[in-house]
């Protein structure tokens, strides 16, 4: 069966806008899991509220790296992970809560405790995986730590589409905690058609940045100069410098940094991303890759009126082959203006 990517974030733009909303957490540069940036708790005494929506569905899977606790201190009842229909404030189908010790967590379905786990190592990154099916009789909610099943429920998980997840630690009903919290490398897939619960793969998201102008330079750099230097800053500097298109079908492409894959690491996808905005109502953008002189450009993407995170996932290169170190070393990213002007 095919899994459909709904969202991913490695925070490597240096901007929390890679998520729908983030409250009381900010981009951090220490204690990252991969790369330069992660999400970290802004004020130790506050809650954290990270929200991400996705298209209505009855089945999801995904995961992220999480690190919290300082050994013996508590989140005590705070929500770590929640799944909603009707958005936050709607119906909470599944949630995972920390308990009175930072080594413990519990699984709840419709507010009833269904599982316990006691072996989190405080202040150490672990991978939190989830696989959820919404069904009135044969649903499931399975939680995996570092790829191993640790809590599960089979039965009634509801009968309405889910569309939002929320990541904590957060609870209005319990006292704030001084514990630190870090998060990195998040993804969520639509897993409709999955016939039984399966451990979601543990994925890491490394980021490449532009380091030279590529094959195409049809957009307008503002102010004038090399094109790549208008789009290489982390975090984005919005209108300080940028590239502009005032007609459709204009291409720009960029040489990218690279890195050496570790032994046993495979590239599953290349995911071009931008922070872009439209000036009117109908401008769009398409994102792609260029390898061995051949382009592969994805579908046109809608934009917001303010700079926002837009991405397109490419599981094969322009020649239809799976990605490898050689393609990684030479790939260009393409941005193409689309829509009407």
């Amino acid at each position: 069966m095919a899994y459909t990517r709904r969202h991913q974030s490695g925070l490597e733009s240096g901007d929390v806008d890679e998520f729908d909303s983030v409250t009381d957490a900010s981009i951090g540069t220490s204690n990252t899991y991969t790369g330069t940036y992660c999400l970290s708790k802004t004020v130790l005494s506050q809650n954290v509220d990270i929200r991400q929506g996705f298209a209505d569905t009855r089945q999801i899977r995904g995961g992220f790296f999480m690190r919290y606790g300082i050994g013996g201190s508590v989140f005590n009842g705070k929500f770590l992970f929640r799944v909603y229909s009707g958005g936050v404030g709607g119906t909470r189908h599944v949630d995972v809560r920390a308990t009175a010790n930072s080594t413990d967590m519990n699984l709840y379905v419709f507010g009833t405790k269904r599982g316990e786990y006691y072996y989190i190592t405080p202040d150490t990154y672990f991978h939190f995986g989830f696989d959820v099916k919404i069904n009135g009789t044969v649903g499931w909610a399975y939680i995996y730590i570092n790829g191993s099943l640790v809590m599960s429920f089979d039965g009634n998980t509801g009968s309405i589409d889910i569309n939002t997840i929320q990541i904590g630690p957060n609870s209005s009903a319990s006292a704030d905690s001084i514990d630190p919290f870090y998060m990195d490398d998040f993804y969520i897939d639509d897993s409709t058609g999955e016939s039984s619960p399966t451990a979601p793969p543990i994925k890491r998201f490394y980021s490449l940045t532009p380091n030279g102008d590529g094959n195409y330079s049809q957009w307008t750099p503002i102010p004038t100069g090399s094109h790549y230097q208008k789009v290489d800053e982390r975090p984005p500097n919005d209108n300080t410098d940028y590239l502009e298109a005032v007609t459709g079908s204009l291409y720009d492409s960029f040489d990218m940094t690279t890195f050496t894959l570790d032994t046993n690491e495979n590239i599953i996808a290349m995911i071009p991303y931008v922070f872009a905005k439209r000036g009117s109502t109908s401008e769009q953008i398409a994102l792609g890759t260029r390898s061995s002189g051949t382009d592969s450009v994805g579908d046109d993407k809608d934009l917001s009126v303010a700079y926002d995170y837009v991405w397109d996932r490419h599981v094969t290169g322009s020649l239809g082959f799976e990605w490898n170190q050689s393609y990684l070393d030479s790939v260009e990213i393409i941005i193409k203006s689309a829509g009407t002007y």
Binding site: Y206, V231, E244, L261, E265, A276, K277, Y341
Partner: protein, 79 residues
């Protein structure tokens, strides 16, 4: 008195002209400022995961050694 009438007519004329000029300026502003696409950051995520070994028990012919051994069959990466 005639001068007074004349001033009124001139005043009305000027007011109409200002209205026309104002409408023209609004139209020009819309064309140059609204229809555009801006990109301020470009990057590429490389989605990576590790290979997983799949083991399968196979029968080894008699005389070679143990009858059963766990041997790595293939390496896969779940997608």
């Amino acid at each position: 008195m005639s001068g007074s009438v004349s001033d009124t007519q001139v005043g009305a004329y000027v007011e109409t002209e200002q209205s026309i000029i104002k409408n023209t300026l609004v139209g020009a502003y819309a064309e140059t400022e609204v229809i555009q696409l801006d990109v301020t950051l470009v990057g590429m995520y490389v989605e990576v995961q590790e290979e997983e070994m799949i083991y399968e028990t196979v029968i080894v012919p008699e005389g070679v050694g143990a009858l059963y051994q766990n041997v790595p069959l293939i390496t896969i990466t779940k997608r």
